[in-house]
Symmetry: D2
Subunit: 440 residues, 4 copies
C-alpha cells in the first residue's frame, strides 16, 4: 500500500486490528456451534464471547509470540488465551490455521470489494451526469488519432458508462467468487470438526460454504478475483488515456480540474498537466500486476502449500486499496472535468469538411458509381484538402467525375445528420432516464 494512494477506509480493511477481530469472531462463532453440538462446554463459548467480543487485540504482542513459535495462528490463539483466559483452550478444536486465515481473508476481500462497488457507483454517477450534460455537445470522433466523423462528447462518456457497468458486474461476480467460508479441518476431511460448524460460521459471516476445501480455499477463486480487478483497472486506464489525449495542448477539448495554488511544473509556471489521469494510468498498471502472481498461486501442491501466503500479503491489500483510490480519483476527475465545447467545435472544423467524406462516398455509390470509382474520387479530393490546398466541398463541386449536383452535395455536410441516433444509444445505456431527461 503506497500511502499517497490509500484511503483510510480501504486501509482499515487490512489493519491488523480488523484481521484479529475477524479471526476472533470466526473462532468464537465456531465455538458457539461446537458448544451446541456438545463438543465443548457451553459455558466456555459464553465466556469467550464475553471477554473477547470487545477486546482490543495487541498486534505487537502477537508478533512477539510469533517470533518464538514461528506460526501466526498459534501466536494469535496464545494471545487470545492471555486475554480471554483458560476457556480459550476450547477454541480452534479440530480446526486448522487455514480455516481461520482463509475465511478471514474472504471477509476482508468481501469488505474491500464492497468499497470498490461503492466507488464504481461514484464513477457511474459522474459519468452519467456528464454524459447527459454533454449529450449533444458535438466533437470529432477519432480513429487512429485521426479525425474520422462527428460524434458527441456525451456519446463518448456513454461508452465509458457502459464499460463501468460491466466493471460493476465483474466486481460483483468477483465478490461472489471469493465469498466462501471453509472450516473443514486438516486436509479438508472434517475429521475433527463437523460440517455444521462450517455452515454456521458461514451463515454468521454472510459467506457461502466452500464445497470442497483441501484445508485451503482453492486459489482459482482468488485468481479470478484479481483478474476481475485488473480488467476494471484497464477500463480506468482507457478513460484516463482519453482525458490525457483531450487535454493535449493541440486538442484541449477537456481539462482536469486545476486548483488555485497548484503548481504544474517547478520549472515552467505555464504548465497545466493531466497529472491525475497520468497517475491513474500508472495505478492501472500496478493493479494489473497482481494478476500473474495470483494465477501462479493456483497450483498449490497436493492439499496445500503456503507459497500463496506471501503473495497475498502483498497483492490483497495493494490491489484493492489502489483500485479503490483510483476509482475515487477517477470519479472526481470526471465530476469536475472542465469541458471546452468551443474547442471541440473548432477541432471539428479543422479538416475543412473532410469528416463528411463517407457521406459523399455513399451518395456517389447510390448515384450508381461503382464503389471503387467513388472511393477514388473522394480520396483524390480529400488528399488535396489534406495537403492544405483548399476546401473539401469546393473541390468536390469542381470535380467533373463527382456526379452530384451542388444541391445534392451541400446537405451532406450537415453535422446534425450524425446525431440522429444519440437517443437510441442513450436509451440502451441509461434506460428511460437516459433517453428522455437529458436536460434534467
Amino acid at each position: 500500500m503506497i500511502p499517497r494512494y490509500t484511503r483510510k477506509e480501504a486501509a482499515d480493511v487490512w489493519a491488523p486490528q480488523t484481521r484479529f477481530k475477524i479471526m476472533f469472531e470466526i473462532e468464537a462463532h465456531a465455538a458457539d456451534k461446537m458448544a451446541e453440538l456438545g463438543v465443548i462446554p457451553r459455558e466456555a463459548a459464553r465466556v469467550i464471547w464475553e471477554k473477547g467480543r470487545n477486546a482490543v487485540w495487541n498486534p505487537d504482542r502477537i508478533d512477539e509470540i510469533e517470533r518464538e513459535v514461528k506460526h501466526d495462528v498459534i501466536a494469535f490463539l496464545t494471545h487470545v488465551t492471555e486475554v480471554v483466559g483458560p476457556e480459550a483452550r476450547f477454541l480452534h478444536q479440530g480446526m486448522t490455521s487455514s480455516d481461520v486465515n482463509d475465511t478471514t481473508l474472504a471477509v476482508q476481500l468481501v469488505r474491500a470489494t464492497d468499497l470498490l462497488l461503492e466507488d464504481v457507483d461514484l464513477v457511474l454517477a459522474a459519468l452519467k451526469r456528464r454524459a447527459l450534460e454533454h449529450r449533444m455537445t458535438p466533437c470529432v470522433g477519432r480513429s487512429h488519432g485521426i479525425h474520422a466523423e462527428p460524434t458527441t462528447f456525451g456519446l463518448k462518456l456513454a461508452g465509458h458508462y457502459a464499460e463501468f457497468q460491466r466493471a460493476k458486474e465483474r466486481l460483483a461476480m468477483a465478490k461472489f467468487e471469493i465469498a466462501t467460508c471453509a472450516i473443514s479441518g486438516a486436509v479438508g476431511t472434517f475429521a475433527n470438526v463437523a460440517p455444521e460448524v462450517e455452515a454456521y460460521v458461514a451463515d454468521k459471516l454472510g459467506l457461502a460454504v466452500e464445497p470442497v476445501s483441501t484445508q485451503v480455499i482453492p486459489r482459482d477463486r482468488h485468481a479470478a478475483y484479481f483478474a476481475a480487478l485488473a480488467v476494471v483497472a484497464s477500463s480506468i486506464e482507457r478513460l484516463a488515456v482519453e482525458i490525457r489525449h483531450l487535454q493535449r495542448t493541440e486538442v484541449l477539448e477537456a481539462e482536469e480540474p486545476f486548483d488555485p495554488g497548484q503548481k504544474g511544473s517547478s520549472a515552467m509556471p505555464h504548465k497545466r498537466n493531466p497529472i491525475l489521469t497520468e497517475n491513474l494510468t500508472g495505478l492501472a498498471r500496478l493493479v494489473r500486476s497482481a494478476v500473474t502472481p495470483a494465477m501462479e498461486n493456483v497450483a498449490l501442491w497436493h492439499e496445500r502449500d503456503i507459497s500463496h501466503s506471501s503473495v497475498e500479503r502483498g497483492i490483497c491489500p495493494d490491489a484493492t486499496v489502489h483500485l479503490d483510490f483510483a476509482l475515487r480519483r477517477l470519479a472526481g476527475v470526471v465530476e469536475r472535468l472542465v469541458v471546452y465545447p468551443e474547442n471541440m467545435a473548432k477541432n471539428l472544423d479543422r479538416l475543412g469538411g473532410l469528416v463528411h467524406s463517407q457521406r459523399v462516398l455513399l451518395a456517389l455509390t447510390q448515384k450508381g458509381l461503382s464503389r471503387e470509382a467513388s472511393y477514388a474520387a473522394v480520396q483524390r479530393n480529400a488528399m488535396k484538402v489534406w495537403r492544405g490546398e483548399g476546401d473539401f466541398l469546393g473541390f468536390l463541386k469542381a470535380d467533373p467525375e463527382v456526379t452530384l449536383s451542388d444541391a445534392e452535395l451541400e446537405p451532406l455536410f450537415d453535422l446534425g445528420y450524425h446525431f440522429k441516433h444519440v437517443d437510441t444509444v442513450f436509451a440502451r445505456v441509461f434506460g428511460e432516464q437516459g433517453s428522455l431527461t437529458a436536460a434534467a
Copy 2:
C-alpha cells in the same frame, strides 16, 4: 498455434475460409435488412446470397488484393465483387471494417468457446467417474508436501471436479462477455447505418447487440475473456502438478497412461515419465501469457486504434486452440490414469502413525491438559518417530505425561474416522448421484 497442440476442430474456427464465410454472412444479413429498410435494392440482396452463400472464397486472391490496397476488409469486398458480381457494390453501405471484423471475431470466439465448454464437460465426466470409483480409496493428504492426515483419492478428485465446475461457469461467462455484435458505422454513431441492421444481424448470428460501440467493440470484454481462459489454464496446471507429484518415483500413487511402444527416455530405457501433465503445465503457462497483452489492448485511443489487431491475430487462435488441446489431453489423462491403491496404503503407513497426531492432541486437551502442554507432549513423541527411533503409538503409551490410557489411545489410530464426511462432500459436489450411487 503450435501444430502438435492443435486439434483440427479448433484450428478450423480460425481458418481463413471460416473467417471469410462469417464475414460474407454478416455483410449479406446486413444487406437483407438494408433492403427491407429500402436502403439498397431487394434484388441486390437476393443475388448476393444466391451467388455468395456457397461460394468458396480465395484467401490467396484476397491476400494479393490486400498487398495493393493495404486494407484487409476492402480486399475482401473487392474479392466478393469478383465472385458475386456488381450487386456486391451494395454491400457494406455505411458500415466500417470494424463492424465486420469485430463481429466476425465474436462469432469465432463463441465457436471456440463452445468447443472449450465441450472439453470441460469431458474433463468433468472423467473426474466424476474416477472420483466415484475412488471415493473410499484411502491415501494420505499432504500439506507442504508433508504427510498430514488421511483422505481419500476420491476426495482429491472431487475437489478438482468442483474447480472445473467453476471453470465451466467462467467459460460460460466469458462467452457471454464476447458474444456481441456491433454494426454502428464510423465512430459508432449509426449515422449511415440504421441500428435495425445491427439488431437484425445480431439476431441472425445469435449475438447480443453491443450497447455502445465506438466503431470497435470495447476491448474490456476481450480482456475479461482471456483472463477467464487463463484461470481455467491455472486449474489445469493444478491438476497436472498433482498427477506429476503422484507419479514421482518415491510416491507412485498414480501414473499417466503409458502405451506399449512408447519410449520414456532415449538414454534410460527404464523411465516412465509424466510427460503429458508436464506438457499441460507448460501449456497452462502459454495460455496465461495472453492475459497481459489482452489487458494492454483495452486502452485504445479515442474511438479506436488498431494496436489490438496484431495482438489478437496471435492470442485469439493460440489461447483458444491450446486450451482446447490441453483440456482434451487432461480429460484423457484423468480417464486413463493408472491408480495404485496399494501404494497409497503403503505411503499412508510410512510415518508410523504420525498422521494421527492431531487426534491425540485433541484427546489430550479434552482430557483437561492445556493446549500448549498437549502440543508439546505430542510433538515430543512425534519427533522421535520422525527421527526413525520407533513407533508413535508405542512412544505415546510409554510417555507418563500423556494422560490417556492404552484403551483410549488405540482407537485414535483408526483410519475410518477420517472418512465419515466423504459422503457430505460428495453430496455437495455431485448432488444426489454423487452422494448415493458411488458403486453405480
Copy 3:
C-alpha cells in the same frame, strides 16, 4: 508465428529442416570426437558425415515415427538410421535428448539473435540519418502531452537512437546468455559421454560450454533472453507511440509513409492513419508476452522436467520472428517518415510564447525576486494567455510586479537559446560524426 508478421529469413531459423540439420550436425560432430576418443569406430563417424552431410531430412517421416514412439529425438535418430544406414547406431552414445535439443535451440536462438542485431542496425542507421537531417529542426518539447519548451526533432530522434544502442547491447548480451552447448548425458554427470565431446561440439558450433547442465541447459538463461527481447519491444513501442502522437490530426508534425493506392479506411476515404506504428505497438505487446512464461520455466523440477518444452515451441519462434518483423518495419517507418517542419513551427507558436515561461522565471529570480514571488508572477500572466486573453510578452511588460524592462524581457523569447547544447548531445550519442558533420 503470424504469417503476416513473419519474414522468410526469420521463419527459416525455425523450420523443421533447419532444426534437423542442426541436430544432425551436433550428433555427427559428437561422433567425430567419440571416434577420436576411441568410443566408436572412426569409420562410422566418416560414413555418418558422408551420407548425412547433405541429406534432406523428412519431417513427415519423423512425425510418423514419433507418433509411434512418442519421443521426438528417438524418432529423429530412427530416421537418421533410415537415411545414413547402420553406422547411425553409433550416434548419440551416452547422450540424452536434451543434449541435442537444448544445443539445437541454442544454435537457433543465436541465429535468430543475429538477425535481430542486423535489424537493430537498420533502425540505428535510419534514426541516425533522420536525426542528423533534423538536428536543428525546431519543434516543441512536450511533457504530459502539454507544450513545455522548444527542442529539435533531431534531439528527439537522438534519444531514440541512444535507446536502440542500448537495445543492441541488450541483444548482444542476450545472445551471450543463450549461446551455450551442453552434452553432459543423463542428469549431467558425463557418466557416459566425455566432457571432451561437449567441448569439441561447442567449439564447432561457436558456442560456449555450459558449466553445469543438469541434463538441460538451465532456463534462467532463456528467461533473461526473453526479458531482453521484451525490453527491446518496449523501446519499439515508445518510438511507435511518439510517431502516432505526431501524426494526430491536430499535431501532424510527421506522418508514416502512405503509398499511392493505399486505402486508409473502407468508409472514410479521407483518412491517413498511422497503422504501421499502431501495429508495432501491438507487436510489442505480443513480444513482451513471452517474458512471464519464460520466467515460469526456470524452476524445473530436480534435474529437469519437460514443462518448458511446450512453452518454448511457442515463444521461441513467435517472439524472435515478430521482433524481427517489428524492427524491420520500424526501420522502414523511420527511414521514410514524412516530416513537416512547417507544422512543427506552427505548433511551437501555438501557446503565444508560453514555452518561454521558465526563462522569465529564472530572470526574475536572478533579479532578486524570491522564487515563490517569481513563480506566482509568471503563472498569473501565463494563465491569462492559457485562457486565450492575449499574448504572454505583452502581459509581462504590462505587469508592474514583473521587475524586468522590455529590453530585458524580449531576448528571453529567443528560440535559438534552447538549441545551444544540441551539439553537445549529438556528440555524446553519435560521436565525432554526430557532432561535426550534420550536413554530410
Copy 4:
C-alpha cells in the same frame, strides 16, 4: 513493502529521510558547480551546504506543503528554504523536478542493488560451502520427478552456484543500467542548466551521465533493471522448489532448519514443513510481478509523462526489499540445510538397480546389438522391475537376448562410475579451489 519480508537496511534506502538527503545533496552539488560557473553566488552555495549538510528534513512538513502546492519537488524546495534560509532560492536554477527525482531514484536503486549484490554473495558462499561438503554425497538424479541416474548432492548445489554467479552478473549489469544522472532541464535541452553541472553531480554521486534525457531518464533502463531482478527471483524459486521436493515425506533427503520451539502446524504437532522455501517461492512471484508494469512504463508520451511515477513508488521499494529479504533467507536455508545422506542412499537403491539401465543399453549396443533391439531388451526387463516383480540385474542375467555375460553385467552397476567427472564440473564452477580442496 510487506513488513515481515523487509530488512531494516533495505527499507532505509527508501525512507523519506534518505530520499530527502539525496535530493538535497544533488541540489547542493549542482549549486557548487553553478557557483563555479558564475550562475549563482559562491557564498550561496557555501551557506546551503553549511546549513543543509546535516539538516534533518521533516517529511510531515513537506507533505503538508505538498498538499497545498500539489507538487512534490516544489514542496521539498520550499521546506529547504525554511531550513536553509534565503540562499535556497539559488537552488534548482534551470533544473526540473525530474532532474532531482530521477537522479535520486538512481542513487537509491544503486544502493538497493549493492545490498542485493552482498546478498548474492551470501547465497554463493553458502552454496559453495555445502557443495564442497557434499561433493561426493551420492543421491539419485531425477528427470520428470522420476529416478534417472546417480549424481551427487554437491553437483546439484554446484549447478545452483553457477546460476547464482549468473544472478550476480545480472545484478551488476542491472546496476550499470540504472546508475545514470540526468540534469538537463526542461525537455532535456540544457537550455537553462549547463551540461557541466550534470557531469559534476554525476561524478560526485558515482553515476554516469545520461547521454540523452528528455527531462526524464529513459525508462527502458528501469525495465531492464526489474527484468534482471525477476530472473534472479526465478533462480531463487528453482532452488526453493528443489528443497521443497527434497523435504517431501517420501523423499526426505534434506530439510530446512527447524528450531526448537517452532510449531509446524496448529493442528498436527508432527509436522515439519518447508515453509521457508515455500515462502521464497511466493516471494519470487511477487518480485517478478514488477516486470510487466516496468515494461509498460517505457513508452512515456513525448518528452515525458508521469504515469511511471505511481508504478515506481510501488515496485522500486517492493521488488528490491523483498528480493533482498528472499536472498538472505535463502542463504540462511542453504547454510543450515539439514542433509540426510543415508536417505539419499536409500532412495538411490529404491528402483532395484534401474538407474543403471543406460549403461546396460550402451554395453549392449557396443556388443553389436542394434540400438532399437538393445532398447527393447532393457526396457522389457526394466518394466518388470517397475512392476515390482524382482531385481534388474537378476532379470538381465536371465534374459537370453541380453548378450552380456554376468561378468560383463555386474560392473555396470557400479555407482562410482557416475562420479568420475564431478571434479571436472567443480573445477569449472569453483576454479582451482573447487577442484582441489573439497575437504578444506
